[in-house]
């Protein structure tokens, strides 16, 4: 154990244990922000997220868990690829996003993204695989985003891109058990 681990905040500890990232190692060069394709849409840039996480106090945590940027990470891996400190800011955002989700602090602008993720997982939990029609229907129900892309569905069907009947795997009971166990693990 290094000295910096000894006196880390509860947040820094949680981040380290889940993602392996030692926040104190970040020296705020901003290369993550510079390369992030989504940074321009974010209310906090990746390096600011790292900085606030380093601060780790209650006010910082509050800002982190209520920001939109957490939900805008597209998972492109650019930040980790180029970080000169060999850190993974996206993994830190994953940890924070899970915390925000658990505390149900979802900013309005991110609700569509959360709705999509949830709809996606719901179809997987139900049949073991993602199914596009149920996913879209569920997403539109949850997000209230009824109008977008209405023209695409029929075209996709016409192009035989969407199977009408979703496939359900034999081991779906197993999948549901996995979901249930994970849910228990992450929501105390």
């Amino acid at each position: 154990m290094t000295m910096s681990e000894k006196r880390e905040s509860p947040l820094a500890k949680a981040v380290r244990e889940t993602s392996g990232v030692v926040l104190a190692e970040c020296y705020q060069c901003g290369k993550c922000t510079a390369g992030c394709p989504m940074a321009r849409y974010m209310d906090l840039t990746p390096n600011q997220i790292m900085r606030l996480a380093q601060a780790g106090d209650d006010a910082a945590l509050e800002r982190l868990l209520s920001c939109e940027a957490l939900w805008y990470c597209v998972g492109c891996l650019t930040c980790a690829q180029r970080c000169p400190r060999q850190l993974d800011p996206a993994a830190v955002m994953d940890v924070l996003r899970e915390m925000a989700h658990r505390r149900r602090k979802i900013p309005a602008a991110a609700r569509k993204i959360l709705a999509f993720h949830k709809a996606f997982l719901a179809t997987v939990e139900w049949g073991g695989r993602m199914a596009e029609i149920p996913l879209v229907l569920r997403y539109k129900m949850n997000s209230g985003d009824f109008l977008s892309d209405v023209f695409l569905g029929p075209v996709m069907l016409a192009k035989r891109k969407l199977p009408l009947l979703p496939h359900r795997i034999r081991g779906r009971a197993e999948i549901r058990r996995i979901f249930a166990t994970c849910r228990k693990g992450t929501r105390p």
């Binding site: 889940t18 394709p37 989504m38 849409y41 939900w71 805008y72 990470c73 597209v74 998972g75 492109c76 891996l77 650019t78 980790a80 690829q81 994953d94 940890v95 996003r97 899970e98 989700h101 569509k112 993204i113 959360l114 999509f116 993720h117 949830k118 996606f120 997982l121 997987v124 073991g128 695989r129 993602m130 199914a131 596009e132 879209v136 997403y139 997000s143 985003d145 977008s148 892309d149 695409l152 075209v155 192009k159 035989r160 891109k161 969407l162 199977p163 496939h167 795997i169 034999r170 081991g171 197993e174 999948i175 058990r177 996995i178 979901f179 166990t181 994970c182 849910r183 693990g185 992450t186």
Partner: protein, 287 residues
Amino acid sequence: MKTLGYYPGCSLSGGGIELDLSVRAIAKVAGVELREIEDWNCCGASAAHSLDHSLAVALPFRVLALAESQGLSEVLAPCAACFSRLKGTQVRLTRSPELGQRMQELVERPYNGTVRILNINEFVASLLAEGLAGKFTRKLGLKVVAYYGCLLSRGEDIVTSDDAEDPQGMAAAIRVAGCEVLPWNSSNECCGGGFSMSKTGSVLDLSQAILDEARAVGADLVVTGCPMCHSNLDMRQLELLKRRRVPGALPILYLSELLGLAAGLEPGALGLGRHFIESRQLVRGGA
């Protein structure tokens, strides 16, 4: 006949069905048998990853465990996202035996870490090594930009067969197919990934930049290996065209489709007819 495990993933039975069709087609031409993992499940994609770190490992873990129990030592995952999830899980398991223990208990399946995951570029390279080029009959003569996106170029210990900043994994195959590979900057830029529905605006911005550069360097088409990238560049191009943000349609093909065409296969059989942006004209002259 060489046998390879096959993990199509959810996209390939839906929006990305062309990738499935063309991969199976060129495997057949090369004489490689693809054996689908029985009763495979979704890898969880970015949704599980975003919301639940245990689930994000548990779902791919079940797939790996199934493959191992079915005697598949090498598994092709043509979808770049599935590849990244499966191989990423494999990497994490190697780094942490403790995680492996936890997952065995959670998923209730044993896994000894013996499965090797291949992406589409590695798969194509192995087909070339097996002599696929000898089966090529059609001269394509196209100018191509190779688009790797994020998940076929990056990921520490995940994409081990390529250079993250200057990926070249498709170039040899495209050249063997009789096409010219044009240098460009966007080969490893992000298209907006899984935000196609939930944050469409960003996908349009990012995809437009990629299409703009492809056109600027004089490409006839973009070749990709990822169904998410394909969907963003192909399906979302309709909207860019509608809003006149791009001046004209640019076909987007999967690498496997391009090779299938070179092998003389019918465009329809490869799934070209299912794209939103018409691409069958690319081979009209040469067929």
